[in-house]
Amino acid sequence: MRVIQRAAGAQPEIPGTTLFDGRQAMKGYALNKMCFSFNSAENRADFVKDEEAYCRKFGLNEPQRDAIRRRHVLDLIAAGGNIYYLAKFAGIFGLGVQDVGAQQTGMSVEAFKQKLVDAGR
């Protein structure tokens, strides 16, 4: 029973952190599958040509489609997105992990980068 309780999330939450577990993996399957498809340049071009049709093809639900429309990373994570696949979505717009980090923390990209540099001082 102890193991099952732990698996069900009895561990203390880590602030600002969503562990990508089975629950998230099920919730975000369609969204992550779409983002996984962005490994292909042809698929990235298809997405850019018609975002809504592309999202429909992968069966995204409304919260996922809405978060895709708004390019909102925290909402994409809440909708089951995994950061490794979401990074491929961000890549379509030429955004890297520091842009994504800035957006999630509500900082400018410059301020976010500076925060990292300061962590090394």
Partner: protein
């Protein structure tokens, strides 16, 4: 018999691949990171390994959530790199050593590590960037390779304790191979970083330095952490430390630290590098 000359553990941040492609190694932002590799390259030139066993985690180039192996190993004549979706240049194929791979598989499964075997396997930046850092010259990697992928994407992840044991089994597997191969084991990823959530940008220097100190002589001390505690201390992607533990576990001889480097930041990450010799 095959022999493990040592292990190199290093971060594998994609931005390093871009910096190499653009020749930024001597720029102030990059220099403290790239300079760390001189000693490793010199050691590799002296040791001249035949094969690199690379323990890394795939970031959604090869594996998707439809089938997610906890441990996977390549058994192919070559491994292809490919477009990961964010503009890294695609590198030429890597030579494999399928006979050696199948020996490792036989030995590991007999040793109760039932891993997924791959006769086709795309290798992403976590595999290619460290090899490029260690062998920067020439278009192709001069040593044969065996990719070993560890799941760090979808929880539950294998615990630090499990990964150290897996590494020990990998070490036994390598050193029971009949041919006179000289092997270097490479563990990639880490150190502390977090890409996702409001805690993005999280770094923990004290924890990283403690891990780098303990992993040399007391790797067992790191197995007391659960994955959850590792995420708490090192960030969601800092758990890639488990790849280092696999590489460290493979060293069964007298282990001595020859070199290390630690630098904050490269992109969102505290970068770490260690060169561990495995004397007979």
């Amino acid at each position: 018999m095959a022999r493990i000359a040592g292990a190199v553990t290093t971060s594998h941040i994609p931005a390093i691949g871009n910096a190499i492609a653009r020749g930024l190694q001597d720029q102030p932002y990059w220099k403290p990171f790239f300079d760390g590799f001189h000693a490793v390259r010199q050691w590799l030139q002296e040791v001249r390994p035949d094969v690199a066993v690379v323990v890394y985690n795939d970031h959604g180039l090869q594996f998707f959530l439809d089938k997610m192996p906890t441990f996977a190993i390549g058994a192919a004549t070559e491994y292809l790199n490919a477009d990961e979706g964010w503009g890294l240049p695609t590198l030429p194929p890597y030579r494999g050593d399928p006979e050696f791979s199948w020996h490792l598989i036989e030995s590991l499964v007999a040793d109760e590590f039932d891993l997924t075997t791959c006769q086709e396997m795309y290798v992403d930046h976590a595999f290619t960037v460290p090899l490029k850092l260690m062998w920067p010259d020439g278009p192709t990697c001069p040593v044969k390779t065996v990719p070993v992928a560890v799941n760090t994407i979808q929880h539950p992840l294998p615990s630090p304790a499990r990964c150290l044991k897996f590494g020990a089994a990998l070490g036994r597997a390598i050193e029971s191979y009949d041919e006179d191969l000289k092997v270097v084991v490479i563990g990639t990823g880490g150190l502390s970083h977090q890409l996702d959530g409001e805690r993005a940008g999280f770094i923990n220097r004290d924890f990283d330095l403690m891990c780098m100190a303990q992993i040399v002589d007391q790797p067992q001390a790191l197995t007391r952490y659960s994955i959850h505690e590792l995420v708490e201390q090192a960030g969601t992607q800092g758990v890639e430390l488990i790849n280092w533990l696999v590489a460290r576990g493979a060293l069964t001889g007298r282990v001595r630290k020859l070199h290390s480097n630690y630098h904050i930041p490269i992109s969102n990450t505290a970068s770490g590098l260690m060169l561990l010799e495995n004397a007979a």
